[in-house]
């Protein structure tokens, strides 16, 4: 028997399924097309599943460019940026939330103005700066700029807001228990900040992973390229895209993002249960 309540539920799920299509279809198309020959990608009527299943494109991805190397570049840069940003933003955020020093608010405002400056504005002076120190066509600009520059301002803000919400009594108790300022940060505040750290981590990783303008400005040799930059290089002699190969490379590029999201999503849910002292 189907009562009206479960009928409503079915209708609701049907609607949600339809609404999912715009989000799921591009991914579906990307993955399935990477297993099709080029002729089938443009066939009419289009096919949802590859009629002719070929994996050539995946091999070609690694032949045309040092793709494994580029993959490693993107991974380690994103990992370094994430680790560095977590360290800097949690330290700075904690300091802004808890340590009273003259000019703290002014300094924090200054940090926040970093959010208002588009990266396109600073990229030329940054290029000049890194040229002066001989760091062009190295990964240093891609690691140092997000970690120490404007992009970490938002993360510092998030961390500061989180630390501001921690009860002062916890720190008082920790002081009586014999912890110094850094130990309080490290052993009390930081373990409680897991939800905020997860949010900052996922934002930062995605930011670095998707970075496009900076790599094409700072890097010139293919073995230094990062993935978003490398994707645009899968072109034929006339500059036209090699669709099946590009889609294969794009599919491979999406994997770490999905992995990070799945891991951090678990953290987010844990974070919801983590409400500190109340309850």
């Amino acid at each position: 028997m189907i009562n009206s309540r479960s009928r409503l539920a079915i209708a609701l799920y049907a609607l949600m399924a339809v609404l999912c299509i715009p989000f799921l279809f591009p991914t579906w198309w990307m993955i399935t097309s990477s297993f099709k020959p080029v002729s089938e990608i443009f066939a009419f009527p289009p096919t949802l599943l590859p009629r002719q299943f070929v994996t050539d494109a995946y091999g070609r991805v690694f032949e045309l460019q040092p793709f494994a190397r580029q993959y490693f570049n993107s991974l380690y840069i994103a990992a370094a940026v994430t680790a560095g940003t977590l360290a800097f933003s949690s330290l700075a955020g904690y300091a802004f939330a808890r340590i009273r020093f003259p000019g703290a608010n002014l300094l924090f405002m200054l940090v926040l103005t970093g959010l208002l400056i588009p990266s396109e504005v600073t990229i030329v002076p940054l290029f000049q700066m890194f040229l002066d120190v001989g760091a062009i066509n190295t990964h240093w600009p891609l690691i140092l700029v997000p970690m120490l520059g404007a992009p970490s301002a938002l993360q510092t803000f998030i961390m500061r807001q989180f630390f501001s919400g921690l009860p002062h009594e916890l720190e008082d108790a920790a002081r009586i228990d014999g912890l110094g300022r850094f130990a309080i940060y490290r052993r009390i505040a930081l373990p409680l900040a897991k939800p905020a750290l997860a949010a900052v981590g996922i934002f930062t990783f995605l930011y670095s992973w998707n970075l496009y303008l900076e790599p094409i400005v700072f890097l010139s040799s293919p073995d230094k390229f990062t993935l978003p930059q490398a994707l645009t290089q899968f072109v034929d002699a006339y500059g036209g895209p090699m669709w099946n190969i590009q889609l294969a490379a794009a599919s491979l590029t999406a994997i770490p993002v999905l992995v990070v999201f799945v891991i951090a999503q678990k953290q987010f849910i844990e974070g919801l249960a983590y409400t500190g002292l109340k309850g």
């Binding site: 009860p167 009594e169 916890l170 008082d172 108790a173 920790a174 002081r175 009586i176 228990d177 014999g178 912890l179 009390i188 373990p191 409680l192 983590y274 409400t275 500190g276 002292l277 309850g279």
Partner: protein
């Protein structure tokens, strides 16, 4: 165990003074309660003793040691906070052990201390739980356990019962008192609840606006309040106050009524406030007619809201009585139980002064 000496301590937040020249001597093993309305500086004073706040001037000593510049961890104190301040990411056992781990105490010994404290507080089954899995009363016990484990010279309590429901509060009140008997350690306890202060303390320190109003045993403060503030603050049914002056040796209220307060020839012509505890009213034919507003029988006693002229007051009688609202009863005051205060300064002006008055 140690005494605590607070001598001429001053503390300001910016230009705003919150503790003004406070001096209190607390004996070894004593249970002292700091009480006062919110904003009176009682919590700040406790935090000063803990070392969480620095002082601008004065001397603070625990035992024979001047601790003005000593870090909280080195003062040999333990503190129980209002919201318990248990570390949410650690189990109960880890919370209790934390300070000992910090001090580098051997593992076996930590284990022993934690289990001893857990046994005293009957929280052994909770040791592997996290604070969020505990009820308010259980958290309160764990917070006390964390303090006991340290085996401190002085326990500091900052309104530890105010987050508990009324029934649990009464129970924990008894347990803290029992704990004091058992450990015989100096305890300093902050509350805004005068009942807590009256029932638990060896001595009470009444604070107002950062100043000590009076120090003394609960009953000493109850019987001999040094001023109107202390008189009104202590006691569960506030003291009844009557404004007026002495004429021809008799107290005449501001309504012109002769009220049955003892004659005082020495106060002739002076504006005073006379105070009576609700239970010090008596029914007597020699009394003065009071108009009954409300009668509230509670079984064992009867509370009566009444008026002498325009001045309303609460009186309390053992047993039962009947008096319809609007009727009048003749009320007197038990001999020697009236309090007389100067109307301008608010200071007590009758015979004996409290030996502890500030």
């Amino acid at each position: 165990m140690a005494s605590v000496s607070i001598a001429s301590v001053n503390k300001s937040f910016g230009s705003h003074p919150v503790i003004k020249d406070v001096s209190v001597e607390i004996a070894d093993g004593e249970f002292v309660i700091l009480v006062g309305p919110s904003g009176c500086g009682k919590s700040t004073l406790l935090r000063i003793i803990a070392g969480l706040e620095t002082i601008n001037s004065g001397t603070l000593a625990i035992g024979d040691r001047r601790v003005n510049d000593v870090e909280p961890k080195d003062r040999d104190i333990a503190m129980v906070f209002q919201n318990y301040a248990l570390y949410p990411h650690m189990t109960v056992a880890a919370n209790m052990a934390f300070s000992l781990v910090q001090r580098g105490v051997a593992r076996a010994e930590i284990e022993r201390h934690v289990h001893e404290a857990a046994a005293i507080l009957e929280i052994e089954p909770l040791l592997s739980r996290y604070p969020k899995q505990l009820s308010g009363g259980q958290r309160q016990r764990v917070a006390m356990g964390r303090a006991i484990v340290r085996n401190p010279k002085v326990f500091l309590f900052d309104e530890p019962l105010s987050n508990l429901d009324a029934k649990l509060r009464v129970q924990m009140r008894g347990e803290i008192k029992a704990l004091h008997h058992r450990l015989a350690t100096t305890m300093i306890y902050v509350t805004h609840d005068q009942i807590e202060a009256m029932t638990m303390a060896d001595r009470i320190v009444v604070l107002r606006d950062g100043k000590v109003e009076q120090v003394g045993s609960p009953l000493d403060l109850y019987d001999h309040p040094v001023n109107l503030f202390v008189a009104g603050f202590l006691g569960s049914n506030g003291m009844a106050f009557f404004r007026g002056s002495y004429r021809d040796g008799q107290f005449v209220s501001s309504d012109g009524l002769n009220l049955p307060f003892a004659a005082r020839g020495d106060l002739e012509g002076r504006d005073v406030v006379c105070g009576v505890r609700p239970d010090d009213f008596i029914l007597t034919d020699d009394g003065v007619d009071a108009t009954v507003d409300v009668l509230e029988p509670t079984g064992s006693e009867t509370q009566m809201l009444a008026r002498w002229g325009s001045q309303k007051f609460t009186s309390l009688f053992r047993g039962r009585l009947t008096a319809p609202p609007g009727s009048s009863v003749r009320l007197g005051i038990a001999p020697g139980r009236a309090h007389v205060f100067d109307a301008t300064s608010g200071l007590r002006i009758d015979g004996r002064q409290s030996p502890f008055h500030a």
